[in-house]
């Protein structure tokens, strides 16, 4: 892209130089900062089309920045996840049309529906953290998968710790 710009600049400059030189030999070629604007454009008439770019060049946060892990029996977003909240809230504030699904999860201990409600608390905790950073509710939905979609399949603390989690899904 940058290369094309350079070529365009060189070509248009040369053309400008040539045009000028053919009329007044004594005039120095005037090369200003905006050579691409040399083609005159009618300003502000009814046929003007000013392009809008609705997809700014920002990509969704990487997978590693889309999960928040929780302590046992805890529903508080720990300080160490501030970067995750910041990265995602920034992305969501730049991409106004983007929605995020926040899925809360629990470890396997306990009953299905009560864990569903506990997972909801984790998703809500993340939703509130994003809201505090200015993300509007209309872009967010907090839901729970309870204990039914474990990321880690084991039955020990290392697996449980991975499953006490909320994921941001785009």
């Amino acid at each position: 892209m940058r290369q094309y710009s350079a070529i365009a600049l060189a070509v248009s400059s040369a053309m400008l130089f040539a045009a000028c030189s053919s009329t007044k030999l004594d005039d120095k070629p005037k090369i200003d900062d905006k050579p691409v604007q040399t083609a005159p454009v009618q300003q502000g008439d009814a046929r003007t089309v000013t392009p809008i770019n609705t997809t700014p060049d920002v990509s969704a946060p990487a997978d590693a920045s889309r999960s928040v892990y929780f302590d046992f029996d805890s529903y508080v977003v720990k300080d160490e996840y501030a970067p995750v909240i910041q990265t995602n809230s920034k992305f969501l504030s730049v991409k106004k049309g983007q929605k995020v699904l926040i899925q809360g999860n629990t470890d396997e201990r306990g009953t299905a529906e009560y864990n569903l409600a506990l997972g909801q608390k984790r998703a809500e905790a993340v939703r509130k953290s994003l809201a505090a950073m200015g993300v509007p509710d209309s872009q967010m939905e907090a839901v729970s998968l309870g204990k039914d979609k474990p990321k880690a399949q084991g039955h020990d603390e290392s697996a449980w710790a991975q499953n006490r989690r909320a994921d941001l899904v785009y």
Partner: protein, 424 residues
């Protein structure tokens, strides 16, 4: 020749594999009922014509119940055989049930049966059923129900059905089966989890929660038509459906306010949800009382989860459970007099029964991760999921805790069992 042999061998292998699969579905019964009634069940005359051995199904039902000891008659007896009462009395039988099977030209079968009271020396019941082959097991279960009711005074649950969820490989299935676990039909397949199935009062629909759209949504499955439709898909989580006794409403848990609370919606999904409970944190797992006047639910409003009861039109809730610091999944008995739930004591999740009049509590299970209890429609048994070596099996226990059965299949992970209603 070789090709034929291979095909034959393959067929034979398939046949063996299916027998093996059946064999893996192991039903074990432990415990002995205090009063067992000796009943003689005859091999039904001509029952070899039927693909299902009717008398074997009846015997299995009755012996599993814990209320009977079965006396073999050693020879087939039809309902028209002459009953030698003194002889049966000598053999210790209180009752005798002979019968017959007749295959009709249109493929149906006529199952006939009679029940004789040996002490009274007279017939006390009997009927005939004409059924297609896929209802043969049902006919046998109905005979077992009739024997059970005539001899114990309470209706039997043998002809009712259960539903549960299996995970086989990566596939989740909502399964409907006879109360004995046989006659399995897959009602819904999904690549995502299904939880909290519960039967409509008429037994034709099952409400459940499915994650098929990346979040919990409440669906009603129409078993007869083979359709399912959303009834609660509000922003946030939608879960824990419970039918009102008349089948017109569903109580559900929604997270509309950010925290999980109980709402009532129309069972067909129309209309706005009516909020029933208000607490700062979790209210979930609603269940209507049999009279439809109150709703039992789980709430952590007092700290840990406990069972509460609230009027069907809302108002203040009363706490119901006080023992232990973790009580969830309330299910009210069909007579409204007792409650079963999952309680965590010493790190073990087990099934407890509470007598609501006396507040007497009884532990009914001894696993480490027992959950999803449900009453049989007679109220005499409780079905629940029990973990065995990190695989969930299904278990049934009598409400006095004396008789217990386990349904286990090594290839299948069972969860979320729920016992269906009485049906015609």
């Amino acid at each position: 020749m070789t090709k034929h042999f291979i095909r034959f061998a393959a067929l034979l292998w398939l046949a063996c594999a299916s027998v093996l699969a059946q064999a893996q579905l192991r039903i074990t019964t432990e415990g002995v009922g205090s009063k067992r009634i000796p009943v003689a069940i005859a091999d039904f005359a001509d029952e070899s014509q039927s693909p299902e051995q009717i008398s074997a199904i009846i015997k299995a039902d009755l012996s599993r119940s814990g209320y009977f000891t079965i006396i073999d008659t050693n020879s087939p007896m039809s309902e028209n055989s002459v009953v030698n009462y003194p002889d049966w009395k000598t053999r210790g039988a209180f009752a005798l049930a002979p019968g017959s099977v007749q295959k009709l030209a249109d493929g149906r079968f006529v199952i006939r049966y009679r029940l004789f009271d040996i002490n009274k020396g007279q017939q006390i019941s009997g009927f005939s059923e004409t059924v297609y082959p896929d209802r043969l097991r049902l006919a046998a279960h109905k005979i077992a129900d009739d024997i059970y009711e005539k001899l114990t005074g309470a209706p039997g649950d043998f002809s009712t059905r259960i539903a549960y969820v299996t995970k086989e490989g990566r596939t989740y299935k909502l399964v409907v089966a006879d109360a004995d676990g046989m006659g399995r039909i897959d009602a819904m397949n999904s690549s995502e989890p299904i939880i909290s199935p519960t039967w409509s009062p008429d037994g034709t629909h099952i409400a459940c929660v499915s994650y098929e759209r990346r979040k919990p949504i409440v669906y009603v499955v129409d078993l007869v038509r083979g359709e399912h439709h959303e009834v609660a898909n509000f922003k946030g989580s939608n879960s824990a459906p419970a039918w009102s006794p008349d089948g017109s409403k569903l109580a559900v848990a929604l997270s509309l306010t950010g925290n999980t609370q109980i709402y009532v919606i129309n069972a067909n999904g129309g209309g706005a949800p009516v909020k029933l409970t208000s607490s700062a944190d979790i209210d979930t797992e609603p269940r209507f009382s049999p009279d439809g006047q109150s709703i039992y639910f789980t709430s952590n409003r007092g700290g840990g989860p406990q069972i509460y009861r609230v009027g069907v039109n809302g108002g203040s809730a009363q706490r119901v459970t006080f023992s232990g610091d973790f009580n969830t999944s309330p299910r009210i008995s069909p007579d409204g007099k007792s409650l079963v739930y999952v309680s965590r004591r010493g790190g073990q999740f087990q099934i407890y029964l509470l007598d609501l009049a006396t507040n007497q509590e009884l532990r009914l299970s001894n696993g480490s991760m027992d959950e999803a209890p449900s009453f049989s429609p007679s109220g005499r048994y409780i079905l629940y999921a029990s973990e065995l070596g990190h695989r969930n099996s299904l278990a049934v226990v009598s409400v006095d805790g004396s008789v217990k059965q386990q349904l286990l299949n090594q290839a299948v992970d069972y969860s979320e069992p729920t016992w269906g209603p009485f049906m015609k």
